[in-house]
Each structure stands twice: as structure tokens, then as C-alpha cells.
């Protein structure tokens, strides 16, 4: 039996959510979304997920299936997401632009912050307990130190 690298990653991502129980699971990106679904459909059925906007959706549908029926179990506008982060019940999985050897991640910019070579998506949102998947397209996926360090707490 063999598995593709993507499949290995999806299972590894799913394992990151093991033991989380009833908390908000926020996968950002394709593989994180697959891994999170795998976890919820197997060993972590209590995970809560949004549809990417505000409704909390109880059922799991295939990735990218926009017409899938949704069983809405709650409402989580951004303000409530922030509250939940600070309350400590959110586990986000994302792919940073850079990750360094210490595990710091960077989604703000590449190069000097004052005049970056590449401006990125800013130091937004990715608070809470983060796990990281380096993106396949990421340039400099393991620099010595990030151009910008994002906290992990």
C-alpha cells in the first residue's frame, strides 16, 4: 500500500486536531481543509467549523462543493471569532509565507518591513493555537529567521 505526499500531509494535519474536542477548528488552505474534515469525520466529531463565513455548519461536505446542503448549528461573526480566540477555544491551521527554524511564522511580508520586496497578507487573524503547513509554492520556506515573526499563543 502506498500513499501520496498529499495524503500523508492530510493525515498529519488531521492528527494535529486529535484531542481538541469541542473547539472551533479553522483550517486555512486546501490541505488544512481536507485534514480538518478527515479529523471531524473520524476521531474528532466534536470539532466545530464555519462555512468560511459566519454560519457554524454541523455537517461536513466535500471541499469546494458550494451547493452542498448545510446544517447550520450556530452563528459566529468575526467579532465572536475574536472573542473565541481570546477565550482559547480556536485551533487554526494555516500555511505561512515563511516559517523559521524556531517555528515562528510570517504572513506579513518578505524583506524589510518598511519597504518590503513582497508585501503579503499582514499580521492578521492567525491567532490562537496555530499549526503550520508550509505552502508548496512558498519561497524561502525555512529561512534562518522570518522577516516578520507572528506570535503563537
Amino acid at each position: 500500500m502506498s500513499a501520496t505526499l498529499d495524503e500523508v500531509c492530510a493525515v498529519a494535519i488531521a492528527e494535529c486536531f486529535r484531542g481538541d474536542g469541542e473547539i472551533l477548528c479553522s483550517p486555512i488552505g486546501t490541505l488544512p481543509a481536507i485534514g480538518a474534515r478527515l479529523a471531524k469525520l473520524t476521531f474528532e466529531p466534536g470539532l466545530l467549523m464555519t462555512d468560511g463565513v459566519a454560519p457554524l455548519v454541523a455537517n461536513v461536505s466535500a471541499l469546494g462543493d458550494k451547493d452542498a446542503a448545510k446544517v447550520i448549528e450556530g452563528w459566529l461573526p468575526y467579532r465572536s471569532v475574536f472573542d473565541l480566540v481570546w477565550h482559547g477555544r480556536r485551533h487554526v491551521m494555516m500555511g505561512a509565507t515563511q516559517i523559521d527554524r524556531y517555528g515562528n511564522q510570517n504572513i506579513a511580508c518578505i524583506g524589510d518591513f518598511e519597504k518590503p520586496r513582497r508585501s503579503s497578507s499582514a499580521c492578521a487573524e492567525r491567532r490562537a493555537t496555530p499549526s503550520v503547513t508550509p505552502p508548496a509554492t512558498g519561497c524561502r520556506s525555512t529561512p534562518g529567521e522570518c522577516s516578520w515573526s507572528k506570535s503563537m499563543w
Partner: protein, 294 residues
């Protein structure tokens, strides 16, 4: 009943160079674009824009209206990075205060509550503090003695927001999935202007949505503008979704000076008011549809 109906042009008359202007919505979602375009056409300059940024920030930076941007991100959602803002960053043509988006909320909330700051853990251990040396820490006066970030109030001169429905007195109603932080923008500002998709009599507001959707109170609104399609090309559900074709055309202008000049002429300079802009967009849609058929 109070009648606070006004126009984009009259709102412009209340704005001055150097003001701090908060813009509601989120990314490419429910942005008060008819008001943003009015600023884009004006001679205003040196503005500080405070926004969960989308094309509002990109457009105003591109047009040289902005001295400083305070933001948690600047995105077009379906196009992750706002291309005009990206150019502005890479050319260092605007000052920035880049914050975690929760810190940003705390800044608005502190201003709304007339507090100098609110404490938060967001930003600790991050370069947010390194690149924003004005941010200070505060120590809990209680037994825990925890060190926290003292997020300063983001006080606004003016707030601009867009809602689905409203009445002439300035009550505003959101009918989409998320109210975002528009109420905080209004409470953080000295003057507040709201555009709406449709003005309805106050007694009809509850025919549109439940009482919970009445998020903006007239006590926080100084002027209301009826602007159907006022958030275009950003989304304004359930009234309309994002105009992705138009947004792609807008985004492509960041890499093409000629395309930018044509876009600017057609959609910013030439339409004298919002209805004229909507007509220009209708013509664009028809051309795009015709191209699709050909």
C-alpha cells in the same frame, strides 16, 4: 421624524485634508464604495485610513489620497492581496500601522468607549510590537501581574459605512451573514455617514429582517445616503454578490498603467455621481457578456 438624508457630494464637504477616516465593511465585503469613489474624485489628501482593508484602501492609495493606513489586512478576498495596496507597500509610498485584526478591533472599541486603551494578549511575542514602537505594554495591577499590550484607542474623525437597509433618521440594518465592526467604527468617530442599498420607512424595517439585524442606531449616524449598488464591486449579500469580473479587471490595472488610466477615466473621473457609475458598470457588464458570446 429626523431626516438625515444627504448625498456623497455633501459628505465630501465635511471632509478635510489630514483627517482620520474609518471605513466599515471587511476586505471586499460591504464597503461604502460610492463614498470611497467620491473621495477618490476629490482633491483631498494626507488622509489616515483606518480599515479592515479592501479596494477602499487600494483605490485611495493608488490615487494619492493617503498618508497613512491603519489596518489588520488589505485583501480582495477572492484575490488574497489587494494589488494596488501591495504596490504602495513595496514602493513605501504610504506610512503604515499594521496590526493584528483583533488588536484593531480593540482599538476601535477603546475609542467607542472613550478609553485611552484596552489590554490584550494579541501582539505579544510578535513583530507587531517591533514595527509599531508606539505600542506600549501594561502590567495587570492585580495579583497575576500579567504583561499585556495596551492597544491605544483608534479615534476617528469620520466613519463611513454601508448597510443593506436604513431609514431617513439614520437607523441601519444589515441583512447579510456578518455585521462586521461597522457599529464600532461609528461609535469611534466624531461624524458618521452611512450609505444604504435602500431607504425604507422606519415602520417597514422589520419586514426586511428580525430586530437583531438593526445594528446601527440613528444616535450614531449623522447622514444617510441611498445608494443602490453602493458597495459595488464588493459583495453586499443578500442584495448582491461580489462582481468578480469587475474586481478582476480592477486588480489587473495594478500591473498595467494604460489599463489603470482607462479604468480611472471610466469608473472614477467620468461618472459625475453614483447613478452614473452604476450606468458605466452596466455598460461594462454588457460588453463582458457580449465578449463571452463572441
Amino acid at each position: 421624524m429626523l431626516d438625515k438624508r444627504t448625498t456623497e457630494e455633501r459628505v465630501l464637504g465635511e471632509l478635510q485634508d489630514g483627517m482620520t477616516i474609518g471605513i466599515g465593511g471587511w476586505g471586499s465585503r460591504r464597503k461604502p464604495m460610492s463614498l470611497v469613489r467620491a473621495i477618490a474624485r476629490s482633491t483631498l489628501k494626507d488622509l489616515t485610513i483606518v480599515s479592515y482593508g479592501g479596494p477602499d484602501v487600494g483605490l485611495l492609495c493608488k490615487l494619492g489620497k493617503v498618508r497613512k493606513v491603519i489596518y489588520g489586512f488589505v485583501s480582495l478576498d477572492s484575490i488574497p492581496l489587494e494589488p494596488h495596496f501591495r504596490v504602495a507597500r513595496q514602493e513605501a509610498s504610504v506610512e503604515v500601522m499594521e496590526l493584528d485584526e483583533g488588536m484593531f478591533q480593540w482599538g476601535l472599541y477603546a475609542a467607542a468607549l472613550r478609553l485611552p486603551f484596552l489590554p490584550t494578549r494579541a501582539g505579544l511575542g510578535s513583530d507587531v510590537l517591533k514595527y509599531n514602537p508606539s505600542l506600549k505594554l501594561v502590567t495587570s495591577p492585580y495579583e497575576d501581574g500579567e504583561q499585556l499590550v495596551a492597544m491605544p484607542a483608534l479615534n476617528l474623525d469620520v466613519a463611513l459605512i454601508h448597510m443593506n437597509r436604513g431609514d431617513a433618521a439614520g437607523n441601519g440594518q444589515f441583512l447579510g451573514p456578518d455585521p462586521f465592526f461597522d457599529d464600532l467604527f461609528c461609535m469611534a468617530a466624531k461624524r458618521r455617514f452611512m450609505s444604504v442599498e435602500r431607504l425604507v420607512p422606519t415602520e417597514d424595517l422589520l419586514q426586511e429582517g428580525s430586530v437583531h439585524t438593526l445594528k446601527i442606531s440613528r444616535m450614531h449616524v449623522d447622514g444617510v445616503i441611498e445608494a443602490p449598488q453602493g458597495a459595488h464591486f464588493t459583495e453586499c449579500p443578500p442584495d448582491y454578490s461580489r462582481d468578480e469580473a469587475f474586481q478582476r479587471a480592477y486588480a489587473a490595472t495594478a500591473q498595467d498603467a494604460e489599463a489603470w488610466e482607462a479604468f480611472k477615466r471610466r469608473f472614477i473621473d467620468e461618472p459625475a455621481d453614483h447613478p452614473a457609475y452604476v450606468a458605466a458598470v452596466d455598460a461594462f457588464r454588457k460588453e463582458t457578456a457580449d465578449k463571452g458570446k463572441a
